[in-house]
């Protein structure tokens, strides 16, 4: 009899692990809270993915297609895990769908519940949702995706745009001390897209450190050298309204010393990633542990990064920490391996 494996979460990590497991012969149940697959990239309509500007549909769409077409994957849309019980190294799980409730026994479980975008409205200094022209990277991604990139306040193309890094990251004040890893790269990518679309529009990036790690650095160089994106060192402490329907960024130029108050047509906040309420939900229902940053805690970050504190439950993707889509997909495959081994050993 084939192994029964439960995958919680239908984002990049969950989709890839589900398909991988089905391909090696397991029966996979994929539980997704939304009425569609694809996770945050799909929900917020990411358009192009770094580092190679691949259309997101080619990546996420492909993952979804593979999962939907695979007979070994049973997908539960708009569902959640309502009851979870360990039973002699196996797990009795009740999956609650809108129209039915089903209890099954699984040999192992993969948790791939992902992350939530930090809500910049929680940090009042950025005046998000107060001024129409202050948006964040997920809003910009959506606007670019819908091919509708204009100033929200008046529908005109902007003349200068500021990108502010580390919003909701590396800030004790909002409770997130960690670096969200991808926002720098996303911001330089968006600055490039912006300059390509509007060559007359200046793009400035306000940074403390630019962390386009590894080969993502290529994008950062490209933004400066080919698209004249200007980087300015200093974090923005306040966003206020300015003359002629502008928003003023107030900060310090830490390289020259001295404050500045510069009016911009638009401000894009590079909001970071958070574990979200779904991480705590998994803690309550599955008995997992959170780390000090609000993400799910692996048994050993170096040696067993995909194992949770409970035997038979595995972790993949951004639920264990901020991650790029490519990393999440890799982790989906790796966690699938761990989950399969556990299932086979305990049959």
């Amino acid at each position: 009899m084939a192994e029964n494996i439960l995958v919680v979460g239908g984002g990049p990590a969950g989709l890839h692990s589900a398909v991988t497991l089905a391909d090696i012969g397991a029966n996979v149940s994929l539980v997704e809270r939304d009425s569609f697959l694809g996770g945050n990239p799909k929900k917020f309509k990411y358009k192009f993915l770094f580092p190679d500007m691949q259309p997101a549909d080619d990546v996420i769409g492909e993952l979804i297609k593979r999962a939907e077409k695979n007979d070994g994957v049973k997908i539960y849309y708009s569902s959640n895990v309502s009851n979870f019980k360990e039973n002699e190294k196996k797990f009795d799980v009740t999956i609650k769908s809108p129209d039915a409730s089903e209890t099954k026994t699984f040999d192992s479980v993969i948790v791939a519940t992902g992350f939530e975008h930090f809500d910049p409205a929680r940090d009042a200094k950025y005046s998000y949702q107060l001024f129409d022209d202050v948006i964040d990277i997920k809003d910009l991604e959506r606007m670019m995706g819908e091919n509708n990139f204009v100033r929200p306040s008046n529908g005109q193309p902007p003349k200068n745009v500021a990108f502010i890094l580390c919003v909701g990251s590396r800030d004790r004040h909002v409770g997130n001390q960690y670096c969200s890893r991808v926002c720098c790269t996303v911001s330089v990518k968006q600055a490039i897209e912006l300059r390509e679309r509007f060559p007359d529009c200046d793009a400035y990036i306000f940074y403390m450190d630019i962390r386009t790690y590894g080969f993502f650095e290529d994008l950062y160089w490209k933004a400066m050298e080919e698209h004249d994106v200007q980087i300015v060192k200093g974090r923005i402490a306040e966003i206020t309204s300015g003359p002629n329907n502008t928003v003023i960024c107030k900060g310090e130029d830490t390289l020259l010393r001295g404050p500045f108050e510069i009016p911009f047509d638009m401000v894009v906040l590079a909001s970071g990633m958070e574990g979200g309420p779904q991480s705590s939900e998994m803690v309550d229902k599955l008995g997992l542990e959170l780390n000090e940053h609000g993400f799910l805690k692996p048994q050993n970050v170096t040696l067993a990064p995909f194992k949770s504190n409970r035997k038979g439950i595995f972790l993949a993707g951004a639920c264990t920490g901020p991650k790029a889509i490519s990393d999440s997909i890799v982790e989906g495959g790796a966690a699938a391996m761990d989950a399969y081994i556990y299932a086979v050993k305990n049959k």
Binding site: D202, Y204, I210, W221, M224, E225, D228, Q230, I231, V232, K233, D253, L255, L256, G258, P259, F260, E261, I262, P263
Partner: protein, 252 residues
């Protein structure tokens, strides 16, 4: 006792009573020593006024202008790591000469700041150490040439008043360029030492020893045999033409 000391105090310096006065530059303080408004004496500290130091805009038109020049075409590459200033031969002598900061000011069009450096901005000796070290190949050495052009264009009066061209050095330079098409570093060194009255040092243990070494290994002779650059006649005409043109422009 305390009162007596107070009486002895000299007339207050500009903005003297401001706490952390060292953080504010003189230009930003407005203070009249003697001022009477509506018959009320508000001399000294009572009329002190500090101008806002807030930079109200980034001017990118300036950046575009620099980028169009040959020497400044790579201004967009600079990410302010400071490798140029760290490797600079001039900075240890002139602390205010900071190529990194100059490039940054040019990027953001911060003319107000740039103006303060008219006197040191020309100090680059063209050793190109910065350009060799620069991880982004910005070519800071040539960026300093771009800076010089800027200074001349935007602050002609300051350049005129703060910079005095040393005619002797200018003549030595021009003679070398027009005569041989190259700078003769040995000659340049000797003439500069002579000018500073340090000719004795030329034959001491360090310098004299170096010369002796170069004579021994033949480098001194190869220096003497330096030929003129390829196609020198044409280049010389072009340079002379240019100098003549510049001369007429300046005279007008």
């Amino acid at each position: 006792m305390a009162l007596k000391e107070q009486e002895k105090r000299p007339v207050a310096a500009k903005g003297e009573h401001i706490i952390a006065r060292h953080l504010i530059e003189d230009d930003y303080i407005k203070e009249e020593k003697n001022l009477v408004i509506d018959g009320v004496d508000v001399s000294g500290r009572w009329n002190t006024f500090i101008f806002s130091r807030v930079n109200p805009k980034f001017d990118r038109s300036f950046f575009s202008e620099i980028k169009k020049t040959v020497v400044g075409s790579r201004i967009n590459r600079c990410w302010q790591c400071g490798m140029c200033t760290a490797s600079c031969t001039v900075t240890p002598l002139h602390r205010r000469f900071n190529p990194r900061a100059f490039i940054y000011m040019m990027q953001l069009g911060n003319m107000k700041e740039l103006k303060k450096y008219v006197d040191v901005a020309w100090r680059c000796v063209g050793c190109y150490k910065c350009s060799q070290r620069c991880p982004k190949q910005v070519n800071p050495a040539e960026m300093m040439e771009a800076l010089a052009l800027v200074m001349k264009k935007y602050f002609p009066e300051e350049v005129e008043s703060k910079l005095k061209v040393d005619e002797d050095v200018k003549k030595i330079y021009e003679d070398m360029i027009l005569g041989n098409g190259r700078l003769d570093l040995a000659k340049l060194h000797i003439s500069s030492m002579r000018k500073m009255g340090r000719t004795k040092e030329l034959v001491d243990r360090i310098e004299g020893g170096a010369v002796l070494k170069m004579v021994k290994d033949g480098r001194a002779f190869s220096l003497l045999q330096l030929g003129k650059p390829h196609g020198w006649k044409k280049s010389r005409q072009a340079i002379e033409g240019y100098l003549k043109k510049v001369d007429t422009i300046e005279k007008n």
